[in-house]
């Protein structure tokens, strides 16, 4: 059956089972993706997915169940499973569904037409061609990917909320492979936005430049260094630690920022913002995972922790209003807490100016192994990194096979300069961004 029919079926089962408080969250997506190899299309994908999550409150407790199998039998089963699960919950936390009354942002009308499969294929081939053209050392194994998709989110609850967000996006990615003197180098770059707005040549050149600039990279002696993180690398770190700003993590004793609202937790120049409606984000959300209107907020302002991020339940517990950060990692997830488009506010200076201010040190362009080498509960990180050594503000040689170590909470306090070159990476709730950042006295393990 269609989602509309399934929704009616679930509403009628809920009534019959005397469930008075419930919510249905629906997500669907459609995408076309293309991958190339040796300047030909190697893989073409056409995917559509959808799923429904049901949340109900029984005796003050919240239960969830989700399904992708929209049948009359499953409507019944979905409600039964959620009720059973509600019966098992013991956390004693406030169980709430959102009420009507919020003012929701209006997203601009979608004007761009959806690219056809043939147009996506052409784009991927162009990206691939431009990568080979960018440098003669680019070898077979270099690949380009283009994905175009549409998403729809809908939320309905027994308080009469009935909301829908739609979005469409295109993402292009180039991964360049460059063999040189018995070593293999890779470089990558990606860009998202509307299909028309993306320059395939620009992605290609950036990907190849990323690979070529690493040729001949060596390690550095272990020790303390002045470090400039590029926006990309610092955004990788910021998104890994975004859970420390969650009131849920704080209330459960899993964030060292618990109870620190109003306190100085970072250097004066640090302002961190969550903006679900950020202008350049392809997937803007007007409501969160439980129907609360989203809005832009400063999480850290001038170094002071202004607020943690809240959903309805954590806000009720803390006696504040939800910040509209009820996040579902996927449609099937329980409502948790998380940012949407989360970024460190730009301050002053280009990356070159930061390098000049730093004088001598290491610029880190990329860190790896974040899921294992960075711990949000302790703040500690020890991460594989690559980038380049600079002297008197100028690049002298590429660097690899080093680790950079520290503690995120200390890093926030030690940030000396923040540039203006804001870069974004993809993140669970949307995007995470940062400009280049200058830090001193960081530990690098190398030779």
């Amino acid at each position: 059956m269609t989602y509309k029919e399934f929704k009616e079926a679930v509403i009628s089962v809920s009534e019959r089972m005397q469930v008075t408080d419930y919510e249905l969250y629906y997500a669907e997506s459609e995408s076309t993706s293309v991958a190339t190899y040796k300047q030909e299309i190697s893989e073409y994908g056409t995917d559509s997915s959808m799923g429904v999550c049901y949340r109900c409150i029984r005796d003050g407790r919240t239960g969830y169940a989700s399904t992708e199998n929209l049948t009359a039998w499953e409507a019944e089963n979905l409600v039964c499973r959620a009720l059973e699960n509600a019966g098992s919950i013991e956390n004693g936390e406030p169980s709430l569904l959102h009420k009507k009354g919020d003012v929701y942002a209006t997203l601009p009308e979608e004007k761009a037409k959806t690219p056809t499969g043939a147009e996506i294929v052409d784009a991927a081939l162009e990206l691939q061609k431009e990568m080979y053209a960018a440098d003669s050392r680019v070898a077979d194994g270099t690949q380009s990917y283009v994905i175009c998709g549409k998403e729809r989110y809908a939320l309905y609850n027994s308080n009469g909320l009935d909301l829908e967000d739609k979005a469409s996006y295109t993402c292009g990615m180039g991964v360049a492979l460059i063999p040189e003197a018995d070593e293999m180098y890779t470089g990558s770059a990606d860009k998202d936005g509307s299909f028309e707005s993306i320059s395939w040549k620009e992605i290609a050149e950036k990907a190849v430049e990323d690979g070529v600039s690493g040729i001949g990279a060596v390690s550095v002696p272990s020790g303390k260094y002045t470090i400039v993180f590029t926006g990309h690398a610092f955004a990788q770190l910021l998104t890994t630690y975004d859970s420390v700003f969650s009131a849920e993590a704080a209330q459960k004793g899993m964030s060292l920022l618990a109870g620190k609202e109003g306190e100085k937790i970072a250097a004066d120049i640090v302002t961190v913002i969550d903006d679900p409606l950020y202008k350049d984000s392809p997937v803007k959300r007007t409501f969160d995972g439980e129907g609360v209107a989203t809005y832009k907020k400063n999480v850290i302002e001038g170094g002071t922790l202004k607020t943690l991020l809240h959903n309805l339940s954590t806000a009720a517990k803390a006696g504040v209003k939800s910040t509209g950060n009820g996040q579902k990692a996927s449609y099937a997830s329980n409502v948790g807490v998380g940012p949407f488009t989360f970024y460190l506010q730009p301050v002053e200076g280009t990356r070159e100016e930061l390098l000049t201010a730093a004088d001598n040190g290491v610029c880190i362009k990329e860190v790896s192994g974040l899921h294992a080498g960075a711990n949000p509960i302790t703040g500690d990180f020890s991460l594989l990194a690559e980038g380049f050594r600079f002297e008197k503000g100028k690049k002298v040689k590429p660097v690899k096979n080093i680790t950079v170590s520290g503690n995120f909470f200390e890093v926030l306090k030690q940030i000396e300069k923040v540039g203006t070159d804001l870069e974004f990476i993809r993140a669970v709730g949307g995007k995470c961004g940062s400009p280049s950042v200058l830090l001193r006295n960081m530990t690098i393990a190398g030779e």
Binding site: E43, Y44, E74, E84, G141, S333, A372, K400, S405, G446
Partner: protein, 459 residues
Amino acid sequence: MLSQELIREALFRALSTGADYAEVFAEHTCQKNISLVSAKVDKIADSVISGVGIRIFKGTRCVSGSASSLDRSAVLDCAAKVADALQGSAEVGDIVLRERIFGDIHPIKIVPTGVENSCKIDYIREACLAAKDYSKEISQVTGNFLEVDHRILIATSEGLLAQDRQIRTRVTVSSIASDGSENQTGSVGPGARKGLELFDDFDPKELGRKASKQAVTMLHAGYINAGVMPVAIENGFGGVIFHEACGHSLEASGVALGQSQFCGKLGQQIANPKVTAIDDGTIPNGWGSVNIDDEGTPAQKKILIDKGILKTYMVDKLNGRRMGMESTGSSRRQSYAYAPTSRMTNTYIAAGEDRDEDIIASIEYGLYAKEMGGGSVNPATGQFNFSVREGYLIRNGKICEPVRGASLVGKGSDVIMNIDMVGKNVARAQGMCGASSGSIPTDVGQPLIRVASITVGGR
């Protein structure tokens, strides 16, 4: 899941534009995840994942599609979209499906989906309470129970029709030790291709205490000094070093496209002669085991590296075409929504002949990595990293004080040459491995090994 008539119709439509191979993958999965915080049930995620993935090959090109439905119209629509991407036409002969039953070597005693929540909760709670009671310094404990009942059906234009039902359960306990201003963590996470009889394999109290012991030990540890040194890596999850440093680079998904440090190295010495490494999808009830892979090929036990010599890659059908090699039963996907590719199953370094005490005694100054965290790798360059959850300094051949914050980094092809001592006692441990075809269960494993020299990140 799907009628033979519908499968045939879908394969027929998928081939109608000139593909030389078509495959239908259907799935119906029930999955439940129960989380406890402070020994109380905090969240339950309870999902049904259901849909179809269709692929066609024309030579070495592949078109794939998926849809979140097993309805006749959705399946045929998916087949049509996939076929229409090729823009040709072809006469398709009759497709005769012959069902094969490969047999199930993973007996399940208690299917978890039929059992009420309370049984599962009681076990996890006991583990969480024991973890909390371990020490006054334990500030928080989270526990997790995961059950997956994954039913798959694979049918191909070659006439294969096969099904499998993969039941897995896993228990995770994570402890936080705190002195008020600093936190450290410890965790355990055993799992298997088993039902609730997994509970009989582990005393929940032991699991909880083990997680807490690690957290408390690390709370009182200093940071290791960064540098290059010899490292002894313990058995079990220590095997993540092979998984990252070498395993991913032996997957055909990278090798077929020239994106691996081990391209063209079959028959050559790529590792220290002490190293024999195996990928075995046939271990009964193993976390990463499968009866058939996600293309319907029976699982195999493969010696990847024999005394340092590269013997085989892990190959799926599509990349097998690109490489001129047969599938090794290595094709895996998280779900119908991900196109499958070659992946690991249960991968481990086989037992060697060195005694554990000799390995430790051989190190004048270095690191003993007792418990590992996860890691990652760039298979093309071989640059890998993984983190040490619980580590100790070795001085003058003796294990000394605990150290925190260590991670190990290097280049895979260098590091497997540097594994110069291999112990006798192999143990495996469970992990989730992420790559282009999604997140799948895999085992890593090894005996205690020595890496003669590796970069250790610290402070």
